[in-house]
Each structure stands twice: as C-alpha cells, then as structure tokens.
C-alpha cells in the first residue's frame, strides 16, 4: 500500500513537471521560477531514492533539500510580492539565514551528516510568513496563481509540524511505528502536488503576458 502511494506521488510530481514545462514559454517570470523549483525538487527526490536504493547515507541531502526549497520559494515570493519593504526584508532574510547556516557548517562540518531541526525551522518559517503575506496581498490585488501560495503554506506547516512532532517523540523515547511518519509525509506531499496541479492546469488556458 505504502509502495503504491509512493509510486503515485512520484507520478504526480512528474506530471506537474511535465505540465509546467509544456506551458513554460508563454508564462511570466514568477511561474518560470516556480517551474524550476518543482523541477529541482524532483531531481532531489530522485537523488534521495537512488542513494537509498544503493544503501548509501542520504541524510545530508535533507540540508540540500531544505536550503534549495528555501532559496527557490524566497525568490518566487520576492517576485510576486509587491511591497518594496517586504521585498527588501526577503533579501535581507535570505542572505542572513543562508550565511548563518553556511557558517554553522563551516565551523561544525560534522553537522552536515546529521539531521538538523533548527535548519528545518529556519528554512520553512520565513516561507510560511511570505506565503501568508502573499495571501494578504491577494485580498485586494488581483489573484496571482493562488494555489502556488496556498500549496507551500499548507505543505510547509504540515511538514514542519511533522518534524517537530517526530523530534519530540524521539526526545521522549516514545516508540511508534516509523511508517506513521512516512504515511503522513507522503499524503502531505501528494496533497501539496494536487493543489499545485489544480493551478497548473489553469495555467494552460490563460496566456499570461507581462
């Protein structure tokens, strides 16, 4: 069952990538950024799968995953948000957080091979804030790809809660079947891609000029 779901989630991810690239040419810049984000996530997924199939350590990829996601989504929200003060805030936050995390790995290179909850928080929380700001902006401005904002918001809150919960359970040394987390993760991820999908099929119909 888990296997089928797992396969399905690869499938829908792939569908989204293909659909996005099919309409890539006549989209505006922000959609192009989003397209590359989805593409990069796909590549990383594939990489993780290959490594785990070869029984190699793939934990360090979680850092790459979160940092890449953070950079792409920051850039995406930087292009869709209008207020120049918020834009400036995004630039400063991005530089500050990436430097902090970079310095941390320079000082403690060993951490690169471990799971890092602070990093997950720092790489997710700003995106949640940006997405919320974008929702706020769309209250009175024209709606730009609503679900490209709703999706990450839902996904990041979900995955962050999941990681925090997992961490808490581990700290308390509470035993529970590891599958539970996997299930949640996959369902969350599929929900995310279904939300994106509803937006992507709408992209095809409207030719956006910028």
């Amino acid at each position: 069952m888990l296997k089928v779901l797992n396969l399905f989630h690869y499938f829908i991810h792939l569908v989204n990538i293909v659909l996005l690239f099919r309409v890539y040419r006549n989209q505006n810049y922000s959609v192009k950024v989003f397209t590359w984000y989805i593409f990069a996530m796909g590549v990383l997924q594939l990489w993780v799968t290959i490594l785990s199939k070869m029984h190699l350590n793939n934990l360090y990829l979680s850092h790459v995953y979160f940092i890449t996601q953070f950079l792409f989504l920051s850039h995406y929200f930087h292009t869709v948000l209008i207020d120049p003060r918020i834009k400036k805030g995004i630039r400063i936050t991005t530089i500050a957080l990436v430097s902090i995390i970079g310095i941390q790995y320079v000082i403690y290179p060993d951490m690169f091979w471990e799971f890092n909850l602070v990093e997950i928080y720092l790489m997710s929380m700003p995106i949640i804030v940006y997405a919320t700001m974008h929702l706020y902006q769309m209250l009175d401005q024209p709606k730009v790809n609503y679900n490209f904002t709703l999706g990450p918001l839902m996904y990041l809150i979900g995955s962050m809660s999941l990681f925090l919960f997992n961490f808490l359970m581990n700290q308390f040394r509470i035993k529970y079947p590891a599958d539970v987390i996997m299930w949640f993760n996959i369902i969350l991820f599929m929900g995310y891609h279904l939300i994106l999908f509803t937006q992507i099929i709408r992209l095809k119909k409207t030719k956006v000029c910028h």
Partner: protein, 265 residues
Amino acid sequence: MPLGNEEIKIAQTIIAVALAFLSIALVMILFFYFSRKKIVQKEIEKRELEVNHQKELLHSVLVTQEAERKRIAQDLHDDISSKLNVVALHTHLLSTPDITDLERTEIMQQISDLTGKALENSRRIAHDLLPPVFERFGLHAGIEELVLEFNTSKTMQVTYTNSVKFDEAKNDKLLHVFRILQELLNNSLRHGKATQVQIIMTQQNDQIQLQYTDNGIGFEVHDSSKHRGLGLKNIESRVGILNGTFQVESQSGQGVQYNFNFSIV
C-alpha cells in the same frame, strides 16, 4: 531538588517545540487580524464610492432639470412671448379709430402671420418635450422618426434595425431609451462628426440589447479627468433606472460603440 541533565534537556525541547508551533499560530492570527481589517476597510471604501456616485447622478439630474427649464423658458420667451407681444400691439392698433381699410388688412395679415409662427413654435417646443409619434405609436415609430430627422439633414446617415416588439404599456420606461438615443445621436453629430451611425436592437429572453456604433472621431472613454458633459451622466442614470448595464468602447479615429443591456418588465 536540582534538575538532572536529562530533565533540563526535555524541558528545553518542550519549550523549543512549543515556541515553534506558537510562531506558526502567531503568523496565522496576525493574518486573520489584518485581513479582517483590510476587508472592512475595502467595504467602507466601496460604499463611500457608491454613495458619491449616487450623489453625482442626483446632482446631474437636478442640473439637467434646471437646464431644461431654462431652455424651455428661453424658447417660450423668444419664440412665443415676443410674437404674442407684437400681436397684442397690432390688435391695439386695430382699435384706433382713424385707420384706412388698407392699413387694417395689412395689420390683420401681420397678426395672422405672427400667430401662425407662434403656433408653429409652440408646436415645435411641445414636440421637443414629448415627441408625439412616440406618444401615439410607441418607441419603434419614435426612433424611426428620429432617425428620419437625422437622415434628412444629409450630414449623417443613420441605419436602424430592430427585432424587438415593445410593450406600449411600458412607455414611461421606453421613453428613457428614446432619450438615450437622442443624446447619442446628438453627440455623434456634434462631437464625433460622424457620417455613419448604426443602431441595432435585439432581444434575448427578457434582455434587450442595444448596440450603437458611429464612425466619428471617438474620444477617451476612460479619461475621467476630461470634463464630461451632462449627456453621458444622464445616460448613466437612465440606464440605472432601467436596471441595465452599458459599456462604451472607443478608439480615437475609429468612432464610438455603446452596448446597452436592459430589460423592460
């Protein structure tokens, strides 16, 4: 009892995780708070705009009424009162004892001329106020007569097609349609310098569509800074009375197109 290492660590974990969840909750709460504020603000702005618009329309109605009164007063004064004045003078002359028969017939002739003119003018004024063809034969005939008037002037060619059967019991509402067309035709002639005008009326269920096109110079529809006359404002309030909608499209050099949508029920 001092806390053990283990307990401190657990306490730290709980606090950290709680803070993380709290930060998400905080973002959401702030979002709800600010978006509520924004929505309320928008609502107020929208209502203010509506009220202002209504005021403007009311104002234009009053101004038009005044202008119309002035015009009627002027017409009466210039075209009828002045003539009747002269008639009164002439009749007075008639009663003077020492006038010849020749003079008498001359004066009588003049009186008859002047009363004839006054009569004609009063007829014209009355017609302007309420076109009798419209009154007697309904909107379709009224428009046909209006179109004929413009066509005989030769500067503008108006074509009019209509597939709608109007209910004469609704003449008070249909008069608005007539007035709208009157204003549009006058505008096309005066501002647009149009040579061709097309009026098409069709019906779908209850909805009547009126399409008006001219080939004049056109104007900047969206440029509200440009002083708008009363004509367009009146059209707007008349369409409002009909519970209808209308759009204007225009490009300079390519004339003007109006699309009206209303129902007469």
